[in-house]
């Protein structure tokens, strides 16, 4: 029966070359893949790994550029730099302020962003225009946002003008001379610039949720709040976590706004950790002390994100 002339039997040769071609492709893969990631690997070594080694080394020596010796010839200080950090009230105050920005700005941005996103879930006239308008602050350079809020909160600026119109001429506030108010305007600028990010991510997250569970809950008799609390919010949780973690990491870095709006003042009352390290390293020239602070920050953030990322991976 096995007639060799049958057209279906005659594929052995074709199949062999098919397989060998496939095998060759697999062999190539490793070489090809390695080749493609090499530029990025080089960049990572150059900008991440070598600097990390250097910053650790620097943090263990006593070196300032003005000493006149090269940094690799500087005497070892071992953990003295780190010991100094623990007695440096200005460092911890700056950390506290950065964390304060994370909590205050991050929290308010989330609350307002979520509120806006829910508001925008239903249609109303002009919704698309408003959505486009909300987007642009995220794209602006931080320094320009700082500049804008600086101009708004000038002593004789529009904010004070509105306040005096409402509350009388005594209501002029010197925003940048009061520590708390200065910090407040910085946080306000941050909220203005980054609420759109949380709005957009929550809005698109809400839009992407399947409708059926919400409708099922409606049929089961749940009211709006119950649906939001027990159905919508839990389904949105992964998106919320990612948004909050990213925003928190960004807010902790806050530098540009402070630099432009208050320069850390009055005194050091609005100095955040980025600004403090910048000053110690690049203004005061104490590079190895700045290095020690940088290492401490790297360690702290690594630890915190470890815990923060876990629920994201599970969710």
């Amino acid at each position: 029966m096995a007639s060799s002339g049958h057209p279906l039997a005659d594929t052995s040769e074709g199949r062999a070359s098919f397989l060998s071609r496939l095998r060759r492709a697999v062999d190539e893969e490793r070489f090809f893949g390695t080749l493609l990631i090499t530029p990025m690997q080089l960049l990572l070594w150059f900008l991440l790994i070598i600097p990390t080694i250097i910053v650790i080394y620097l943090s263990l020596v006593a070196w300032e550029p003005r000493m006149g010796v090269d940094w690799w010839q500087a005497p070892f200080a071992f953990l003295r730099n780190y010991a100094q950090i623990f007695q440096d009230g200005r460092f911890w105050a700056a950390i506290g302020r950065s964390l304060g920005v994370v909590v205050a700005a991050g929290g308010l941005e989330f609350a307002v962003g979520l509120g806006l996103a829910l508001l925008f879930m239903r249609d109303f006239p002009g919704k698309r225009i408003v959505t486009s308008v909300i987007l642009y602050p995220m794209m602006l350079p931080w320094v320009v946002v700082g500049l804008a809020f600086y101009l708004l909160f000038l002593d004789r600026g529009p904010v004070n003008f509105v306040l005096t119109q409402w509350f009388g001429s005594g209501a002029t506030v010197e925003w940048f001379k009061n520590p708390l108010l200065a910090m407040g305007t910085i946080v306000l600028a941050d909220i203005w610039q980054w609420t759109p990010f949380l709005f957009l991510i929550l809005y698109s997250g809400l839009g992407a949720l399947p409708k059926d569970p919400v409708e099922a809950a409606m049929n089961l008799g749940a009211n709006r709040w119950q649906i939001f609390r027990h159905v919508t919010l839990p389904m949105l949780k992964p998106v919320i976590l990612i948004a909050l973690v990213i925003r928190a990491l960004e807010a902790f870095k806050i530098f540009d706004l402070v630099f432009v709006m208050t320069g850390g003042g009055p005194g050091t009352s609005t100095e955040t950790i980025s600004l403090y390290i910048y000053r110690v390293g690049f203004v005061f020239g104490q590079l190895s002390y700045a290095a020690a602070m940088a290492v401490l920050i790297l360690v702290m953030i690594t630890l915190v994100t470890r815990f923060a990322i876990q629920p994201i991976e599970e969710g």
Partner: protein, 370 residues
């Protein structure tokens, strides 16, 4: 079963427009207490939209909906006590099975003890007691269906609405779940409205079927009745597999008897039918022939009915029967024959039509005459 005359749901001139497109155009319907009613129709016929309007998930453009003679047209879905089972089940996948079943009771502020009792009750009924602590996302399809059913049942709805719940199943499982559904309906004695585009499903499940097309009701009735007495060309062509054959014919009178005529076909009619046709204004008709009702003509012709000669165009053998395409002029006519009758392509055959089993439609209105 409760009094079959009492209607639990009544639709009155129900209409729905989406951006100027009519999805449902003036639907009147009474759903009887305790019945299993199927909405059957091709996709886009408005059956799901109708169901969603009953549930309150869509607001009608016009018309009214009554539940137990209470107007609910504009009531939000939360206040209707109508259960809805979604095509993809819409489980709360972030919750356990227990929490899914308890959800409706919790939002009604039922006492915890009572919730627990009721959840276990429905879980037992649908064999979910073993998986109450499992997260909904981890279940298999059949369990998901049972959870979806149990969740709608837990709050004791007046009516259950089901939107093609068997769509996601592979064929074997699909038949089994169909059986389950039928059994639940018997057990629960609950009014169910069931949307499907699968006529076989509608025929097996439904006490009655509402055939819909382009947002309109085409016919409402028991499955068998609809099959045997389709009200119009659409229903006739939609119900039954393979689909009914349609031939355009002219009615003529020849002596005592009436005659249906076209190229290659003469069909003698019984007297009562002749009389009925004579009273019609038009003699232009459509003859409907079910493929199952055609036979190969043996010797001798019947006094009534007719025989036509055709050529075999295609033979599709099935397990115990075969579907044969015949060529009659330009028309293709399908017939179903037992598998033991050997036929080859290009064979010429004589096919007998039994005058008792023909369907006739008015060519202009599409309405059934018989």
């Amino acid at each position: 079963m409760a009094n079959p005359e009492a209607s639990i749901i009544r639709l009155e001139g129900l209409r729905k427009e989406f951006d100027g497109v009519l999805a449902v155009q003036g639907l009147d319907l009474r759903v009887r207490e305790g019945e299993f009613l199927c909405f059957l129709g091709p996709s886009g016929c408005g059956k799901t939209t109708t169901l969603r309007m009953i549930a309150g998930l869509e607001t009608p453009t016009a018309g009214e909906i009554y539940l137990r003679e209470k107007k609910i047209t504009r009531l939000p879905p939360q206040e209707r006590n109508v259960g809805f089972m979604f095509q993809n089940y819409a489980l709360f996948w972030h919750m356990s099975v227990f929490d899914n079943l308890a959800f409706g009771l919790r939002v009604r502020r039922t006492a915890p003890g009572q919730i627990d009792r009721r959840v276990r009750e429905v879980a037992d009924m649908l064999e979910l007691a073993q998986v109450l602590d499992v997260r909904a996302a981890k279940l298999d399809l059949s369990a998901m269906q049972r959870v979806a059913m149990a969740r709608t049942l837990a709050v004791d709805p007046d009516v259950l609405l089901l939107d093609e719940p068997l769509n996601n199943f592979r064929p074997g499982l699909r038949e089994r779940m169909r059986g389950e559904l039928k059994r639940w309906q018997h057990q629960l004695g609950r009014t169910m409205v069931y949307v499907t585009h699968d006529q076989e499903e509608a025929m097996t499940l439904g006490d009655r079927i509402l055939v819909m097309n382009e947002g309109r009701s085409e016919q409402l009735g028991a499955p068998r009745y609809i099959y045997e007495h389709p009200a119009n060309l659409f229903v006739a062509g939609f119900i039954g597999r393979p689909a009914m054959n349609f031939l355009e014919v002219e009615f003529k009178r020849e002596g005592e008897a009436g005659l249906l005529q076209r190229d290659g076909l003469r069909l003698r009619l019984p007297r009562d039918l002749t009389a009925a046709l004579e009273s019609l204004p038009s003699s232009r008709l459509v003859l409907g022939l079910r493929p199952q009702h055609l036979r190969i003509a043996e010797n001798g012709t019947a006094r009534e009915g007719g025989v036509f000669r055709a050529v075999v165009d295609l033979v599709l053998p099935l397990a115990r029967k075969q579907v044969v395409d015949l060529k009659l002029g330009d028309e293709l006519i399908k017939m179903v024959l037992p598998a033991d009758r050997p036929l080859l392509v290009d064979d010429a055959v004589s096919v007998a039509i039994d005058a008792d089993r023909i369907h006739l439609f008015d060519r202009d209105t599409g309405r059934a005459i018989r």
